[in-house]
């Protein structure tokens, strides 16, 4: 790279073919750059007449590698603390089943983040975004799928919890798992004069069966 020229183009007299190549390439590059930036702009802009008209083209450029979401803390910052807990039902040698206490998965994350100048994605993003994925693909009323990807979200969430809980609790094999998710709205600032938010909402997911396959590769 050290030997690239930095002299103004005026220092060289281009031949005809060279002019043609540079001219065509320049025109193609500028057009391509303009179209690319246009597509990215339409992707981040609110849905509009142009982005609806050219939806296939915009999506073709942007997905999968140029996807972006820059609505950082917008339109409003998140105002809820969401905590995910899980509990398991185990089976003893004789066949007796037992339901164990809730494990605070989010609480584990928070404990790891507290006092940590550089929190790991394992603690800050893994479970948090897995829950967002689940939430975005399920109906909160009856936990049915709203998108085809919902199945993946279920398996992912289950495996995150199982990795932390293990194959057995107190020497008994894990049979089923259940999630409970509490969403607590942040108390408004003291000076705002707003009414305190409603009590935290608790959402309980159905019991999911656990088999050996669910543990594959979890270490």
């Amino acid at each position: 790279m050290a030997d690239s020229t930095d002299t103004p183009a005026g220092g060289r007299v281009w031949s005809g073919p060279a002019q043609l190549v540079i001219g065509l390439a320049g025109a193609a590059l500028l057009t391509g750059t303009g179209l690319f930036l246009g597509a990215v702009f339409l992707h981040v802009a609110p849905a509009n007449s142009v982005s609806r008209q050219y939806r296939a083209e915009v999506d073709g450029v942007v997905y999968p590698e140029f996807e972006q979401n820059w609505k950082l803390f917008a339109p409003n910052p998140l105002q809820q603390n969401v905590s995910v807990d899980a509990r398991v039902r185990t089976v003893a040698e004789g066949g007796a089943t037992r339901t164990h206490d809730w494990t605070g998965l989010t609480a584990q994350d928070i404990a790891a983040i507290r006092g940590n100048p550089a929190p790991s994605h394992v603690d800050q993003n893994l479970l948090r975004r897995a829950w967002d994925f689940y939430d975005g693909s399920h109906n909160p009323q009856d936990e049915t799928l709203t998108t085809a990807r919902g199945k993946l979200a279920e398996e992912y969430l289950k495996r995150i919890a199982l990795q932390r809980i293990g194959r057995s609790v107190d020497g008994e094999r894990v049979l089923e798992i259940e999630f409970r998710v509490t969403s607590a709205t942040v108390l408004p600032p003291s000076w705002s004069g707003e009414a305190p938010p409603p009590a935290p909402k608790v959402r309980e997911l159905p019991w999911w069966p656990v088999d050996d396959e669910d543990y594959r590769g979890l270490g």
Binding site: M1, A2, D3, S4, T5, D6, P8, A9, G11, R12, W14, A18, V21, I22, A25, G26, L29, G32, T33, F36, L37, V40, F41, V44, G60, E65, Q68, N69, W70, K71, F73, A74, P75, N76, P77, L78, N81, S83, I110, I113, R114, G115, P117, A118, H121, Q124, L126, R128, R129, A130, F133, L152, Y156, R159, Q163, P188, P189, G217, L218, G219
Partner: protein, 386 residues
């Protein structure tokens, strides 16, 4: 037009962006090293099976499913570390930025449900950097006189590796020439194109270093660089414009309490006492909330005025430093600062360069002097013993 074809615009800014993103990704990889297998490897709850079901849908690029298993993953992860180091140093940048792109995409696309805005911006810049001449200054490449033998060997090795990946069944659909949907191009044209151009550049440099074909290539490279720098700058503006304009509509930003809420989210309060303190008073919370929106909305327009732009740039970098500490998002914040750096004035960059050089020379001289004195003392002591 002469500037577009004949000059590498913003060469210092390109170098800062390269070094910045190299460092951010390197720091991230090293920080996550103990967790790497859970995040992207064989121990991930997002199992390879789940990943492949999603990848079959979205077609994102990653080499990790090619072999699965731990060994391949470890190889890719550590290659990512090496690529990041090479990008920071500007060593064989034409090749190392491509490896940087491949490794960043491979790891991030292995599990897309891990990232935040920081990962997103690294992902985009990893692509854009490939097209910039980002090693014109502040790089090992710029210090080297000729192409050297290593470059040729590297080119041949990478070509062979690419050929194996292209021909092998293991790469599946990732290295296709075309894609079924718009814009109908796969990854193969990019990789082979870059490889072929690098070879052509070298051959022409040997045969006719002053000939017109090489000058044309040089002009093309300048044009591509200048377009890529435009894309990087536009990307940063889009980030701020989007973040700002959507906030304008938010009730919490309007009532001036927005800042208070992230400071009370468990996931983003590594120092609860500090967050409580920062969110405790009405007027500062109002001013920072409104100030954030104003700065983000205004930034793209301030590019028309150098002085105002530089002031705002400093404000935004300071705010990101605050976010790094306060919300426990150092990787995100440093990535944003590295992106902001594309707008740093050349004068400031040259000033930093001069300062660093002076300090490094001074520190080097001091260390050398100290070492010499120690050596002398040791020798004298030895003679005394005798």
């Amino acid at each position: 037009m002469a500037a577009f074809t004949g000059r590498v615009l913003g060469r210092h800014q390109a170098a800062v962006v390269r070094i910045g993103f190299g460092l951010v990704w390197l720091a991230y990889l090293l920080r996550e090293w103990p967790h790497r297998r859970v995040l992207y490897g064989d121990r991930s709850p997002w199992s390879m099976d789940l990943a492949q079901r999603l990848l079959a849908e979205n077609g994102a690029f990653t080499v990790l499913p090619w072999f699965g298993g731990r060994l391949w993953f470890e190889l890719v992860y550590h290659l990512a570390v090496l690529a990041a180091v090479a990008v920071v140093l500007g060593w064989r940048t034409r090749a190392s930025t491509v490896l940087f792109l491949v490794t960043v995409l491979s790891l991030q696309n292995r599990n897309v449900f891990l990232g935040d805005g920081g990962d997103n911006v690294v992902h985009l810049m990893a692509v854009y950097l490939v097209f910039t001449r980002c090693a014109e200054v502040w790089s090992l490449d710029a210090r080297r006189a000729g192409p050297g033998r290593v470059g040729v060997v590297l080119w041949a090795v990478l070509g062979a590796v690419l050929a194996v990946c292209q021909l092998g069944d293991f790469s599946g659909e990732s290295l296709t020439w075309t894609s079924p949907a718009f814009p109908y191009v796969g990854w193969a044209p990019l990789f082979w194109g870059l490889w072929a151009v690098a070879g052509l550049w070298w051959v022409l440099g040997r045969l006719r270093p002053d000939g017109e074909p090489r000058a044309v290539l040089d002009a093309l490279a300048n044009m591509i660089h200048n377009c890529a720098m435009l894309v990087i700058a536009a990307e940063v503006m889009l980030i701020y414009a989007t973040a700002g304009w959507y906030k304008v509509q938010g009730s919490r930003w309007q009532d001036g309490t927005a800042l208070y809420y992230p400071l009370h989210l468990d996931y983003f309060t590594p120092w609860p006492w500090l967050s409580a303190l920062a969110g405790s008073a009405l007027v500062p919370v109002f001013l920072i909330s409104y100030g954030t929106v104003i700065v983000q909305v205004a930034f793209p327009f301030t590019l028309l005025n150098r002085r105002v732009k530089n002031v705002l740039l400093a404000v935004m970098m300071a705010e990101h430093l605050g976010i790094a500490v306060m919300l426990g998002l150092p990787v995100f914040s440093l990535a944003m600062i590295a992106a902001d750096a594309v707008f740093l004035p050349t004068g400031a960059l040259l000033w930093v360069e001069a300062r660093v050089q002076r300090d490094v020379v001074r520190a080097g001289a001091r260390l050398l002097g100290q070492a010499l004195r120690d050596l002398e003392r040791a020798l004298r002591r030895r003679e005394d013993v005798r």
